[in-house]
Symmetry: C2
Subunit: 468 residues, 2 copies
């Protein structure tokens, strides 16, 4: 055993340190699968004080640490590929209390998203940040990556629900930020620096989250539209009429793959269409449904949609959602090129059209599949390897695809990462979204909070330009 | 003229530099009135590039700058009392565009809050951050102080509405932060550092703000309650039944002063009561009013309220609001001690009761007047000078009052500044709300963004411990 690790045994019990190769492999990777995990050990602290001890130990020994949640990320942010020590937060999994007066819930970083959602629901409240990986992702990881998901149009991002944070900085200091206060204008709000910092500034150990009343009587309207460009006008019309909780889109190609995977699913409409919209709204009274139908009718009259169906029961509601939520899983066996990007909402059609044109010219044989969140300007693009293409060729083409997409995004003022973060995969492209001044400032702030550069080194940016 | 100023004439026209003593006095103070203004000059840039030139000039000459909005602050954040150069943003007052698809409005920092609200309303949208100083306060100042106001319970703080920022840092760099994107997880969100930083990190020049659909059919319910402690249960009951847009409180003493000022106002109820609640909610259908009345009836049955009245028309709606909003103005001629603090919502009764007990023991002759935002845990306390007390004695007692209140707040985990910021007035007390580690980090971050310490020096904290 590494002699430095030996020293850590003063702080941690034997079962809190694992050098088992299988565990090191498992905890050293996230859902990207494109890096070879190479963690030196996995550490399992059981309190914030132990996290602090680990950081102080790491500073002393210049040991790089990778903070680790549910590792469901898709940018390599939680990957340990260079002999780092993984700090798993999974044993910090206590939900302390739900406060009905404050409308808050306090919990540790390792709590699974879905467990928190259920805990909150059991008291008649609602935690709205939700996404497909809810069964594995952890609250601390959601904070470190400022998770988004399908309800952003109504409820915003993870950032919007974080009332307080307890973190251990890279300097080994415990910060207790914001003390559960709604209003607290007393100097810089350091809380927001840690949110979305992908474990590079501090290790998030505990949080108080806001919760809310659950939405009532959700209904899904699935509609067919002849072209993506109409989605913007449809969004604008519906938003005026009903209280939207989701406004998603996917293409017929995406639907085809879902239907191939689910033999029990039927095609939603008799005719096919190039684009589908999934519109979820609160349907509390006949008036709400009427308003939605009014919006539908004006869109039909304007010929910007061709057909539609309202979910009639909870089973159909689930099925409509599955058309959208199962796309990623259905494509997964094909190991597609994936990217998660954003533009201003009004720029979506222009971006997709330009990207389609560009990619079909550069890579005419590769199938392109789009889906995403219209209401947030967030697009998920998948490009499939074609039959005659070797893995190596495809991998090399993927780099060109990224480069081309990011150049286009830069031109249209978009972001190279809407919700998945930068991590390792997008690090080489950070300059497409952030200016040299911003990157320099990020480096300087990193230096303030993590003076020895021990926290998740090499993620988002390299500490010194040109090297890790 | 100061020779350094002479140099600035290369960048600014004559009418953009004022050394007129009256202007220097006027622009050198805010609404606190307790500092003697002593600005060296007032600068009026007309573009972000000119702001950048001013900052670069100030760095070169080590000239301290005080960024200046509507100067409606109550913590001395915009005061220039030490020969600083005031940088007024008032000529950056353009509203560029309202984007209906994005639901955003882009404008410069010097736009008056009310002008923006009207501009947005004219297009059928709503900008919800609102407070009594709406006619003078400017958008840039609202951002720099993370303004709150009366609608926070429903719409949150200024922070929650800022999609993008254009700022000039203390280093003289122009940053364009977030590019109007809803989702943009590409490294640290520097935007949030500037929000609430009181002009100490950068000068905010332009922003894109989110806007929303206006609330519908607002109604006010004014109720009498026998004791403040019941307000929490009443809040909890109403919140379950209706969509609240405000939940305010004030005491009978506060109401007395408003009635003294407004001879045309009548006492709202025949019997007096110690505490009043103003509950504003969306009343779109008979069902909403029914729900509110149900909540009212259960509270009445539980004897936690004694009487109430629903606004019957827009005039009564205005009057009910005036009972609450005119308190500050009514007290103003008496030059009261004022403080703006916050605790967790559930701690309000405990805090007010402990503070009343403590102050009535220490200062038995001084009248104490409370009002504030129950739904945000935000209390405004006013203490009046008693007749036999000299201005000097009162001023000295006020320091003791602050000290006592802040000690109590520290014990209960509250904040010494809910919405007014730290500025100069609360600088000596910052340690009651923020830990030594946090203050050290704030200093280090200031150093990164304002390496020469030229931006609003001496506000929030001194740059080096023990000195400015």
């Amino acid at each position: 055993m590494n002699p430095a690790l030996q020293e850590l045994k003063k702080t941690l019990r034997t079962n809190q340190i694992s050098t088992d190769p299988l565990q090191c492999q498992n905890y050293g990777r996230d859902w990207t699968r494109s890096y070879i995990p190479n963690a030196q050990a996995v550490l399992f602290p059981e309190s914030i004080e132990q996290v602090q001890e680990i950081v102080l130990w790491a500073r002393k020994n210049r040991s790089p640490l990778v903070p680790s949640g549910g590792r469901t990320g898709l940018s390599g942010g939680a990957v340990a590929a260079n002999g780092e020590f993984v700090v798993s937060l999974e044993r910090l999994r206590q939900i302390f209390e739900l406060n009905e007066i404050e409308q808050t819930v306090r919990c540790e970083a390792g709590v699974i998203t879905e467990n928190l959602q259920h805990f909150v629901s059991a008291s008649g409240f609602y935690f709205p940040v939700d996404f497909a990986s809810r069964g594995s992702s952890q609250i601390g990881g959601n904070i470190a990556t400022n998770a988004g998901g399908t309800k952003v149009i109504r409820y915003g991002l993870m950032r919007d629900w974080i009332l307080s944070l307890k973190v251990v900085t890279g300097a080994g200091e415990i910060l207790q930020l914001n003390r559960d206060l709604v209003k607290n204008n007393s100097g810089y709000d350091l809380r927001h620096l840690f949110i979305g910092s992908e474990g590079t500034l501090g290790i998030i150990c505990e949080t108080t989250l806001r919760i809310t009343q659950p939405p009532k009587d959700l209904t899904v309207l699935l509609i067919q539209i002849p072209a993506l460009e109409h989605s913007i006008e449809i969004l604008t019309r519906f938003r005026k009429q009903v209280s939207l909780t989701a406004f998603e889109f996917f293409t017929d190609k995406a639907l085809d793959y879902v239907l191939q995977q689910h033999s029990d699913f039927t095609r939603p409409f008799s005719k096919t269409s190039s684009v589908y919209l999934l519109i979820e709204f609160e349907n509390q009274s006949p008036k709400d449904l009427e308003s939605a139908m009014e919006a539908f009718d004006t869109c039909l009259a304007a010929k910007i949609l061709t057909d539609g169906a309202v979910s009639q029961n909870s089973q159909q509601f689930q099925t409509f959602w599955k058309y959208r939520e199962d796309i990623s899983e259905s494509l997964s066996p094909l190991k597609p090129y994936k990217n998660d990007i954003s533009v201003r909402i009004s720029k979506i059609p222009e971006f997709v059209s330009a990207a389609e044109k560009m990619l079909s010219k550069q890579f005419p044989k590769n199938e392109i599949i789009w889906f995403g969140h219209i209401g947030d300007g967030n697009l998920h693009i998948n490009v499939l390897r074609h039959e005659s293409q070797s893995d190596e060729d495809f991998s090399s083409d993927c780099k060109s695809i990224s480069q081309s997409l990011f150049e286009l995004l830069q031109k249209l003022g978009g972001s190279i990462s809407a919700e998945h973060g930068i991590g390792l995969t997008k690090k080489p492209y950070l300059h497409f979204s952030r200016s040299p001044e911003e990157i320099r400032l990020m480096r300087a702030i990193k230096k303030v909070l993590d003076p020895d550069g021990i926290l998740n080194p090499g993620k988002i940016f390299d500490i010194t330009p040109g090297g890790t």
